[in-house]
């Protein structure tokens, strides 16, 4: 409201008094406003509260999750002695952990990919491991997660095979205090002592394993200061250190981005709810037009009318918002149950004021942004309207003050969305897309009405009547289309994105994708390995490459700690990278810059680098990359950059070295085996029986792990987006109900004129069918556009239209529109002409 109006309307106390009296008349017609607001606020409150609760859980349990105050991740190499000495001099206690994945073989011969965690006597520094039964874990013994025992049919006392060792199963691993810090992503957990792991023979040069050192500081020790001192003492080691406060940065990032998506899905529900608010408030005020006009006649200034109805709207919005907050908090409990297995810590559920206040603010701004227009129009209803038939002045605009307030509310809403989003650019894009979608449906409605107006007089019967209904003055065509369309657009976009991602991990598997990766094949096993797989049934193709582990320590002579890498390329600078060497380019590689070395090249070390990494690191041909291989720094000059297709499921290396340098270094090999999937079990068993240290990873299993994670995220998004559709259906119901009076009158007049029920029903089927079909078409197009934009610009990924999703959108829209239309028609046809005509 403008300051001008605020100064002159007769005072807020009077506005409150009048509002209270008006509210006595009931708020039935505003129930839709309450529910629309409540739904949107509930979605946002639930997402925000859950995120805060998870963060609180992570913070509270940070040290326990990390398994100490500080963790040093050393990669495939043990912690250097100098570093260990520095730490031992300052720490209260330390504990060494080594993790690698391998195949666990049951007495039956069944095998399963597992992650072995080898620990020392000090483990765990914090919390407790729960073994069932509670026995001490000795050398030559293992404890396994119940899942492993179930899958492999194990019982306590069984002798298992792990690499070359035959440990005995002594207990089930019920709880692992630091599981979140070392999630067993590739397979369920096996817990063993370090001596047991050593006996397996799985630790070989080039093995994919992870050494880490947990540190517990003396009481009062400052983890941040300890980390700073360590980095200062060993600036060139590229130490990867984590403290309890950053225990789960990866998970937090994942949570942040998932929550951002969910908040936006909730906002879409609120946006549709806002349309419901606008139409609900408009209908409510239209019903009060005589009251307003009477007040104007009695001398009420427009400012007072505005204030009085604003007070009522805010009071009702407060009720809707509070209901939404309560419902949202309830949803948080449900979501926590649903997600219990996926979260590293139990969320600390509590009514956190921050997210609840934010959700309430979203609700309030939405109510204002959508309700001020009809409120402003109502305030301008003149007293003279009492003497006229049409009370609501068609086309009247609110005063400039109200318009400015509405724009301010809308701008604040957009500002809040962008300011509180994890990715402001995406949030701004979302706002723009939401406005564009609204505009698209308004335009679509205008187009449909225009066409209906042009062609209806050329048609006959139901078509003529149905089309005329679409474009007559006051027809709810635009409202029905917008309310139906926005929710379905959101659902379509999510379905398209999920479908595209799923295609990439499942259906889009390259035709020539391997069935297996076999890793850790030692140099002296190569000949036997080749001979064995050549005899196995179903094997069609075997490829092998050498595999070393290397850490990038400097680029162009600058230590990596000081390199400012572009987002999306930093990952490759942290920790160990796979490195291979080759005389010829990898199959299918496309050289982007430079040239591959000659097959017989034996000169100074050269390297071929992934082109996108080279761009992100701002390096090019001739620049020097320093690699630490087995503790030695070696300098490689970049000879060329390659386009690497990471989704190709082949053996891809960011770094490929020229031959002649690394052959002598101890290293292992990776092989891919492609063939008949029906023979997978035989191939896996034969290879890993013959080479106990070799681990086989089935590509399809790994992809299924990713797909399962994706599916959970998609479920959460779909659930939130369903609220949008629910809001849309509510608004649609409201729109149909608002037009019901006219529909009843029309039905009566048509019946009087001799129309049959069938003819009347057919006319309305035409009306709602066309609205549904047009909305469905637009929702499919808008959903595709949104999903394309997300895939293309956010995920940097290819997009294909999923025709099934589009068809489902179209049919869903049609079914909803026809369903609601059918209900409205059936009710209207029940009206008795005599009673209705007497009433007139």
């Amino acid at each position: 409201m403008s300051a001008r109006a605020g100064a002159g309307f007769g005072g807020w106390p009077l506005a409150f008094r009048l509002a209270r009296r008006e509210l006595r008349g009931g708020v039935r017609s505003l129930r839709i406003v309450l529910v629309c607001l409540a739904l949107g606020v509930a979605a946002i409150a639930a997402v925000g509260t859950l995120r805060t609760a998870i963060d609180a859980g992570l913070r509270a349990d940070g040290a326990r999750l990390l398994g100490g105050d500080v963790e040093l991740r050393a990669g495939s190499q043990p912690v250097p002695d100098a570093v260990r000495g520095f730490i031992n001099a300052r720490a209260a206690r330390t504990s060494d952990i080594t993790i690698l994945r391998s195949l666990l073989v049951a007495p039956s011969g069944e095998r399963l990919l597992v992650e072995v965690k080898a620990v020392d006597a000090a483990y765990p520094l914090l919390g407790a491991v729960v073994l069932d039964p509670a026995v001490p874990l000795r050398d030559g013994e293992v404890a396994v997660e119940p899942l492993i025992a179930e899958r492999l049919g194990l019982k306590l006392g069984d002798e298992l095979r792990l690499g070359e060792a035959h440990p005995r199963l002594v207990a089930l691993l019920r709880a692992e205090p630091d599981k979140a810090a070392t999630p067993a992503f590739f397979g369920p957990r096996v817990l063993a002592t370090r001596a047991t792991l050593d006996a397996t023979g799985l630790i070989q040069p080039g093995s994919l394993l992870q050494h880490s050192l947990r540190v517990q500081l003396p009481p009062g020790g400052d983890a941040a200061a300890f980390v700073a001192a360590l980095r200062q003492a060993f600036p060139d080691e590229g130490l990867r250190l984590r403290t309890a406060s950053t225990a789960e940065p990866g998970f937090s990032r994942f949570m942040d981005s998932t929550a951002s998506f969910l908040v936006l899905a909730g906002l879409t529900a609120l946006l549709v709810g806002g349309i419901g608010v606008a139409t609900g408030v408009r209908a409510w005020l239209e019903a009060r037009a005589r009251t307003i006009a009477t007040m104007r006649c009695l001398g009420a200034p427009s400012g007072l009318v505005l204030a009085m109805y604003l007070v009522q709207l805010l009071a009702l919005s407060a009720v809707g918002i509070i209901a939404g907050l309560v419902a949202g908090y309830g949803l948080t409990w449900l979501a926590a149950q649903f997600l219990a297995g996926s979260l590293p810590v139990p969320p600390r559920l509590a009514p956190y004021p921050g997210p609840l206040a934010l959700a309430a603010l979203y609700g309030l701004l939405t109510a204002l942004a959508f309700a001020l227009w009809p409120l402003g129009r109502a305030a301008r209803i003149p007293g003279a309207a009492l003497f006229r038939d049409a009370i609501a002045p068609e086309g009247a605009r609110p005063g400039w003050g109200v318009l400015a307030a509405q724009l301010a509310a809308a701008a604040a809403l957009i500002g809040l969305v962008v300011a509180t989003a994890g990715d402001p650019r995406f949030a701004a894009g979302f706002c723009a897309a939401a406005l564009a979608t609204l505009g698209l449906f308004r335009l679509g409605a205008a187009g449909l009405m225009l066409v209906a107006g042009r062609v209806s007089h050329r048609l006959r019967g139901a078509w003529r009547l149905g089309l005329a209904n679409l474009h007559r003055p006051g027809a709810p065509t635009a409202l029905v289309m917008v309310s139906l369309g926005i929710g379905l657009t959101t659902l379509t976009a999510i379905a398209q994105i999920e479908g595209n991602l799923r295609r990439q991990v499942e259906a889009d598997l390259p035709k020539r994708a391997p069935n297996f990766f076999f890793v850790d094949i030692q140099q002296d096993q190569l000949a036997r390995f080749d001979a064995l797989v050549a005899t196995l049934p179903g094997v069609e193709e075997v490829r092998r490459v050498p595999n070393l582990r290397a850490r990038i320590t400097a680029l162009k002579g600058v230590p990596v700690a000081q390199v400012r890498a572009a987002p999306g390329s930093e990952w490759a600078l942290a920790g160990d990278r796979g490195l291979t060497y080759s005389a010829t380019p990898p199959e299918g590689a496309r050289i982007v810059t430079g040239a591959w070395w000659a097959p017989d090249y034996r000169g100074a070390p050269l390297v071929s680098l992934d082109a996108s990494l080279a761009e992100g690191w701002n390096v090019g041909i001739g620049d020097v990359v320093t690699l630490n291989i087995l503790g030695r720094d070696l300098e490689f000059r970049i000879a060329n950059t390659r386009a690497v297709n990471w989704r190709g499921m082949g053996m891809n290396f960011a770094l490929v070295a020229s031959p002649g340098v690394l052959e002598a270094a101890p290293h292992s090999n990776i092989a891919t085996v492609r063939g008949d999937p029906a023979q997978d079990a035989t191939v896996l068993r034969s290879v890993t029986d013959a080479f106990p240290n070799v681990t086989g990873v089935r590509v399809r299993d790994a992809l299924e792990t990713v797909a399962a994670l994706l599916s959970r995220v998609a479920t959460a998004l779909t659930a939130t987006a369903s609220l949008t559709l629910a809001s849309g259906v509510l608004v649609l119901g409201g729109a149909v109900a608002a037009g019901q009076r006219r529909r009843v009158r029309d039905a009566v007049v048509l019946k009087v004129l001799g129309a049959t029920r069938g003819q009347i029903s057919a006319a309305w089927a035409v009306e709602f069918g066309l609205v549904g079909a047009t909305s469905g078409l637009l929702a499919a197009v808008a959903g595709c556009a949104a999903s394309w934009a997300v895939m293309r610009f956010m995920l940097g990924s290819a997009w294909v239209p999923l025709w099934g999703v589009m068809a489902a959108t179209l049919l869903g829209c049609l079914a909803l529109a026809l369903g609601f239309g059918r209900i409205g028609t059936a009710l209207a046809l029940r009206a008795r002409p005599a009673g209705e005509l007497r009433g007139e």
């Binding site: 002159g8 005072g11 009077l14 008094r17 009296r21 009695l298 001398g299 200034p301 003279a384 009492l386």
Partner: protein
């Protein structure tokens, strides 16, 4: 919008010799899809303070439009209009609202009571708009004056048509306006009830010394006014009435 809350700005007072209503060459047109419709086509009218004027004429002749102009609910398209010393054409929307609540009471054919408010609250409303602290005391007195002292807490839906019109009458006169405008006040009532309401209306007018402009189709009712003018096709018969 001016500050009018509990400190109403006094409106210019007319001098004793001045007419309460003075219209010269008053015209009023509205734009419609079929073109401009000239509803009033040069009305000249003078009404003295305390006078009762009956305004009769066929439907569509412009009676109600003239009433709306007098109430400041519409703006003249041409000519001048002074009511109670105020130049209505020169006032903005909210000054006109202030003018109405201080100087004008209106009685409608369809009563137009606020359904969610009691009789007492309906009547107190104009005084509340004016920031009067004694709004409810005066409203009660006003309702008693129309014989509804026992219906103070009733809602319009709980009252008969005649009672509703009496509430409307109490509401129109509670601020003791200089000008009382009545638009077919008995149109929705039976003859007996209508007669009772009109007795009350004329009684209040006399007691308060209020100027009355009564729009009606009923010639007998109009005859109760001191002067009757006829409106036809946007013009008052007989020139300056």
């Amino acid at each position: 919008m001016d500050a009018i809350t509990s400190h109403p700005r006094p409106l210019p007072e007319q001098t004793p010799t001045e007419s309460l209503i003075e219209a010269r060459a008053l015209s009023f047109s509205v734009a419609s899809s079929g073109g401009v419709v000239n509803i009033l086509r040069g009305v000249d009218l003078k009404v003295q303070p305390g006078e009762a004027l009956g305004l009769v004429g066929p439907s569509g002749s412009g009676k109600t439009s003239l009433l709306m102009l007098l109430a400041g609910l519409e703006r003249p398209s041409g000519g001048t209009l002074r009511v109670a010393g105020a130049d209505l054409a020169a006032m903005d929307e909210d000054a006109l609202a202030r003018f109405r609540r201080e100087k004008v009471g209106i009685v409608f054919q369809a009563f137009h009571l606020i359904p969610s408010m009691t009789a007492l609250e309906n009547v107190a409303m104009p005084l509340e708009f004016a920031g009067r602290r004694d709004a409810f005391d005066r409203a009660e007195a006003s309702l008693r004056a129309v014989g509804l002292g026992h219906r103070l807490g009733h809602y319009p839906g709980q009252l008969s048509g005649g009672e509703q019109q009496r509430v409307a009458l109490a509401r129109a006169t509670v601020a003791e306006p200089a000008l009382l405008l009545a638009d077919e006040p008995t149109g929705n009532l039976d003859r007996a009830t209508g007669g009772l309401v009109m007795d009350l209306l004329f009684g209040l007018r006399e007691r308060l010394g209020t100027t009355l402009v009564l729009v009606t189709h009923d010639e007998a009712l109009a005859a109760r006014c001191g002067r009757v003018v006829r409106m036809e096709d946007g013009l008052l018969s007989g020139g300056v009435a």
